[in-house]
Amino acid sequence: MSGKGKFGEFGGTFVSEILEASRAELEEGFFRLKKNKKFKKELAELLEKYGGRPTPLTYAENLSKKFGCKIYLKREDLLHSGAHKLNNCLGQALIAKYLGKKKLIAETGAGQHGVATAVVGAKLGLDVDVYMGKTDAERQKPNVFRMELCGAKVKIVESGSMTLKDAINEALRDWTATSKNTHYLLGSVLGPHPYPLMVAHFQSVIGKEAKKQIIKEEGRFPKAVIACVGGGSNAIGIFRQFLPEKNVELIGVEAAGLGISTGKHASRFSDKKLGRKGAMHGCFTYILQDKFGQIINTHSVAAGLDYCAVGPEHSMLRDLGRIKYAYATDKEALKAFQILSKEEGIIPALESAHAIAYALKYAKKCSPKDIILINLSGRGDKDLEMVMKEIRCKK
C-alpha cells in the first residue's frame, strides 16, 4: 500500500474526499504545533496543573508477595477524570483551539474518553458533543451523567451494535458535515493519518514518566510491560518508550469476552479466522470481519475494549514480533478487578483489569526478582454497578 501516515503496510488515509481537506488541515496543524514553543508550554502546564501529572508509579507490595515477583502499577487511574484519556484530550483540544475550531465532537465506549473530552471542553471553553452507543450508555451510566454535568451533549447512537464502532460511525458522519468549525477528537490510536501518530504522541508521556520512575525505583528495566488494548492508546503510550529496550517484553492484552472460540470477543490478533487485514474508520489494520469484509459485532464486559479494529501501529509491531498480544476473558478480568481491589485497595477500570488478569498469569512464570510493569489505564468507579451485578449473580 502506498500513501502517507504508514506503519509498514498499516495506517494510511482511508477517508472519503469529503473529509480530506479537514484531515489535511489537521495534519498540517499537528506537525506545526507539536514543535511550537507556546503550544508545548501551554500543554505541559495543563497536564501538570489541571491533569495532575506526573502520575505516580506504585509498588504493589501485597500483590507482589502473593504472586512472587515485583509488580509495579503506572497510575493513570489517578489522572484527572479517571483515565489516561485526558493526555490525548488536552493535546487535541489545544490543537483545535489553535486552529480556531469552536466545537469538539468525540466518540466514547466506556465513557472515559467522553468524560475527558467533556472536562477539557469545559476547561478550554469549547462546545462538546459526545456520541455513545446505547448499550454503552446503559452500562456506563455514571459517565453519561459526568459528561452532562461538564456541559457536554451526549448523543445516543442506536444503529448497529450500539457500541463504540457505531459511535465512531456517527461522529465521522457529523464531522463530514461540520468540519469547518468542528474538531473530531478521536480517542484512540485509530483513524486516518495523523490521528494514530498524534494520539500516540500525546499518550507517550505515560511511558516517558514510567521509564524514569522504574529506573529511579529499581535501577533497571522491567522484564515485561503489560497494558490492555482496545484501540490501543494507553498501550502505545507506555510501550513506545520501551521499544528500543530489546530485553523488555511488551505485552498487549485484548478482550477475549466469552472466549475466543465462541466468536463473542474483541481479540483482533488472537482470533486467526475473524481477525483479518482491512480498512475501517480511516486506516488499514487488523479488523474482526467475515470473509466478505462485513464488520463483526464484538463483545467484552469492558466497553472500552469492545471494538472491532486495533490501532495500525499495533498491527505493525505485532507483525514485526516486537509486541506480543495475549488476551483475558470477561471472567478473568472480573476476577482481577476484585483481586487488585482487595490486595492493594485500588479499584481498576474493567479495561485495565484485563491487563492485571494477564499479568497475574504471567507472574507465575517469573522469579522473585523479575519486575512487571502494568499500565493501570483507568479507575473502576464507572464499572461498580456492573461488577456488583455480576458478583451478586454468581452468589
Partner: protein
Amino acid sequence: MNRYEKKFLELKMKKEKAFVSFVVLGDPDYKTSIEIIKTIVKTGTDILELGIPFSDPIADGKTIQKAHQRALKKRMNTEKAFKLIKEIRKFTGIPIGLLVYFNNVYAYGINNFYRKAKKAGVDSVLITDLSLEESPPVIKAAKEYCLNQIFLVSQTTPIKRIKKINKLCSGFIYLVAIEGVTGTRKELQKETLKLIEKVKANTNLPLCIGFGISKPQQFRKLTETDIDGVIIGSKIVSMIEKNLNCKKTMMTEISFFTEKMKKCSKRFKNNTTHNNIRR
C-alpha cells in the same frame, strides 16, 4: 467507445442531462431488488449507480444506512451482488457503476473484485472511502480489467487536487453537492453551483452531481448549469423503505418519481444550438 462515452454523447445530441439512479443491491431482498432496478430502467434512468451493502457505511445518512442493513439481513454479499448485476445486464445496456466501501473490495481481493465486476457487466467502480493517496493498487486493477475508476470531488477539494483527480479518474467525476453524508436536503446551496464551475474549468470529463438532491426543482436548476448528470439515491431508497409491505405501491411510487425526474433532465437549455428549448 465505452458505455459512458456513448451515453454522454447520445444525451448531448438529444440535449438531455443524465439522470443517474442509485439503489443498494439486494435491498430489500434479492428478487425485489431486481424488480426495482427493472422499474427504474424502464422509466428512463440513463445510468445506474449500485451499492454493495456494507455493515458500516460511514458516508451515508440514515436512509441509505438502513438500505445496507436490509440487504445484509437478507444475506446479500459481494458474490451475490455480481450475480444480480448479471441479471440486470440481461435487460439493459445502460452504464452500470458500483459504489462501494474499500473493505468489501479488499476482502474480496482487489484484482478478483475488478475481474468479477467486469465479467458481470459493470462499467465503473467508485470506492467511497478510498483517498487519492491510497488508490494506486486499485487504479492498476481498474486499468487491467478496463473499468472506469470514478472519484469524488467535494466543495473543499483544492484545485491542485482536482487536477490530480482528473488525471486518475475516468468515465465521469462524481461531485458531492453538499458538505455532509447522503440524504435529502431542502435547497441547493450556492456553493454547489460554484463547485460545478470550479471543476468544469479543470476537466474535460463529464460531471455528475449527487448527495442531497431529491426534488424536481433542484434537478431543473442543475440543468441550467454545466453539469452532465444528476444522481439521486436517498429519495428512491426512501420509497423502498416506506413500502416494504406492498411491492405494488413501491413500484408505482418509484416509477412515478423516476419518470418525473427523467422529464426534468430533458429541460436543459443548450446555448450552442439554434433551436433552444423554450422554458
